[in-house]
């Protein structure tokens, strides 16, 4: 990390900064939290940051219950959770790439096509210009932040709620979706932009490539927030960590794999 210079300045100003921060929650946010924590702990050797997984709702619950200082969630906070009175910080954004099996000849889909595929209206690739083969739809589990964002933006989340077809395979993580799509012919799925690699084929949505720039300029539509949640007044050390995240340096770390919020 390039924390050499700030480390010295900060070190002079706040030599006394010490304590333990527990972050818990979404596993999607976990790698980023760990990265941020590593750099922060380099700067303040007396600070320990424990990063826990568990899932978004564990993040919400543990922040509310005070088990964790910071709860991490990779989805919007639900109305039912808003009542808990937690403070929300969007620390990063994550693009969601629509991916198909590498052998597929599909290059581009419209939002409407994606919606119809995921609601089960379109079940054959020939309807969207592909070969005559049944579509294998792969989605994330109920409650997943990625799924929540995806269905909302693509309109799968209709008037009657989540309309995802019953015939979708459900996989419990980004990696599992990626692996499934990579090895299953005629499949389609969606994964975090950070996880996109050449084992699967990322396609254009409405003619726009999925990339950080296209998300920043809002031409690529499918993305979701990474939230940090705190409960009431926070200890000095937690505040310092939050400040660090929203500093230029912190957001540089964010930008390595995700999308900066400033």
């Amino acid at each position: 990390g390039g924390g050499e210079e700030p480390a010295e300045t900060n070190g002079q100003e706040e030599e006394t900064l010490s304590g333990t921060i527990v972050i818990a929650g979404s596993t999607s946010v976990q790698p980023l939290s760990e990265e941020l924590a590593a750099v922060f702990m380099d700067q303040y050797p007396d600070v320990t940051i424990e990063v826990q997984g568990g899932g978004s709702s564990v993040g919400v619950k543990s922040a509310a219950d005070g088990i964790a200082d910071i709860g991490a969630a990779s989805r919007e906070i639900k109305d039912s959770e808003k009542s808990l009175g937690l403070d929300e910080y969007v620390i990063a954004k994550d693009g969601i790439a629509v991916v198909v099996n590498p052998d597929s000849n599909i290059e581009d889909l419209t939002m409407e096509q994606i919606q119809k595929i995921y609601t089960g209206e379109i079940t054959n690739w020939s309807a969207v210009g592909g070969s005559d083969a049944n579509i294998v739809v792969v989605t994330r589990e109920e409650g997943s932040g990625t799924r929540g964002a995806f269905i909302e933006i693509t309109g799968v989340d209709g008037a009657d709620g989540d309309m995802t077809t019953e015939n979708a395979l459900v996989q419990p993580s980004t990696g599992a979706v990626k692996q499934t799509v990579a090895t299953t012919p005629d499949s389609i799925g969606y994964i975090s932009l950070g996880a996109l690699d050449d084992t699967v084929k990322g396609i254009k949505v409405e003619g726009v490539d999925v990339s950080v720039d296209n998300i920043l300029d809002n031409s690529y539509k499918i993305s979701r927030p990474f939230n940090y949640l705190t409960n009431g007044a926070v200890p000095e050390v937690v505040q310092a960590f939050l400040d660090f995240i929203f500093s230029v340096e912190g957001q540089e770390i964010v930008a390595q794999e995700f999308i900066s919020v400033i």
Binding site: T48, E50, Q52, G54, T174, Q179, A195
Partner: protein, 296 residues
């Protein structure tokens, strides 16, 4: 049945036919048995072979001694090995005395009353509860209700509950193999019941108990769902009972399901299998010695 030679002649031709008929059944029977035994062995070789072939080469000193970074995508699994050891140790230290003493109670003291039947039934139920339920329970009870947070303590207590039935059962079985004559011999010399248990019964079934312990360790090492919900999945090296830890099984699950790094996944899986192999070998050795001793 009048004369031997007569019957002799009568039976021979008949029997030839039967034995032909019976032979077909018999051949099929043995064919099926051998086939299934072979299939089982092949499956075992396939699973272990597949994982070891893909993973063993990625295990090196570096991998074993460096700490993981980026969720385990890079670096080694040092802190995870430590976490696994810690958690297993804690769960065994909690469960072993309780399990062994409970088994002693069941075999040596309990009379067949309705109460004892209920307590026994409880133990059986505990053995059948799926690990995910232990996870749910550990999470709500130890982590949240008792405020132990994600920690080796929460995980260890949860795992201890999980391996308790295994320990009780194994100890009970080995206690039952202690001949009654040892107990009678001791009691007839004026020893009390407890003296008899401590000085004669337990020492002569020590290796049976040890086998049970090792089985319990195996179960603790292999558990994923319950550990993830109670000990957490933090990557740091744990220093205290109140620190969270990630075990190898949890790490493997995260690596496999997040698809972080194929190499590290296979390497971790291989290491886990090797560990289990070693545990099994120790258990076998102990049992062998036990059998030898029992025979002597």
């Amino acid at each position: 049945m009048t004369n031997a030679t007569e019957t002799f002649e009568l039976i021979v031709p008949k029997e030839k036919k039967f034995s032909k008929m019976i032979n077909w059944k018999t051949y099929f029977f043995y064919f099926f048995i051998y086939l299934m035994a072979t299939v089982t062995i092949l499956v075992l070789i396939a699973i272990i072979g597949y994982i070891l072939i893909n993973g063993v080469l990625h295990i090196d000193w570096e991998f074993l001694t460096s700490e993981p970074s980026k969720m385990g995508k890079e670096g080694g699994i040092y802190s995870i090995i430590i976490g696994t050891l810690y958690l297993t140790l804690v769960s065994v230290v909690i469960a072993a005395p309780i399990g062994i003493l409970a088994a002693v109670y069941f075999t040596e003291y309990a009379k067949e009353s309705r109460w004892i039947k209920m307590i026994r039934f409880g133990t059986e139920i505990l053995a059948g509860i799926p690990s995910i339920i232990f996870g749910l329970f550990g999470f709500t009870f130890f982590v949240i209700f008792l405020g132990f947070r994600w920690s080796i303590l929460s995980g260890g207590l949860t795992l201890a509950m999980m391996i308790l039935p295994t320990l009780i059962r194994a100890t009970e079985e080995s206690l039952k193999t202690v001949p009654r004559s040892y107990r009678e011999g001791s009691l007839s010399l004026g020893a009390t019941k407890w003296q008899t248990i401590i000085k004669v019964v337990l020492p002569s079934c020590l290796s049976g108990i040890l086998t049970g312990l090792i089985l319990g360790i195996g179960r603790a090492v292999g558990e994923t769902a319950a550990v993830m919900l109670t000990a957490g999945s933090s990557l740091g090296v744990p220093h205290a009972l109140t620190d969270p830890a990630r075990t190898m099984s949890v790490h493997l699950y995260i690596l496999a399901s997040e698809g972080l790094s194929r190499e590290k996944t296979f390497a971790t899986a291989s290491l886990l299998i090797i560990l289990v192999l070693i545990i099994n070998m120790i258990a076998n050795m102990v049992t062998q010695r036990y059998i030898k001793k029992a025979k002597a």
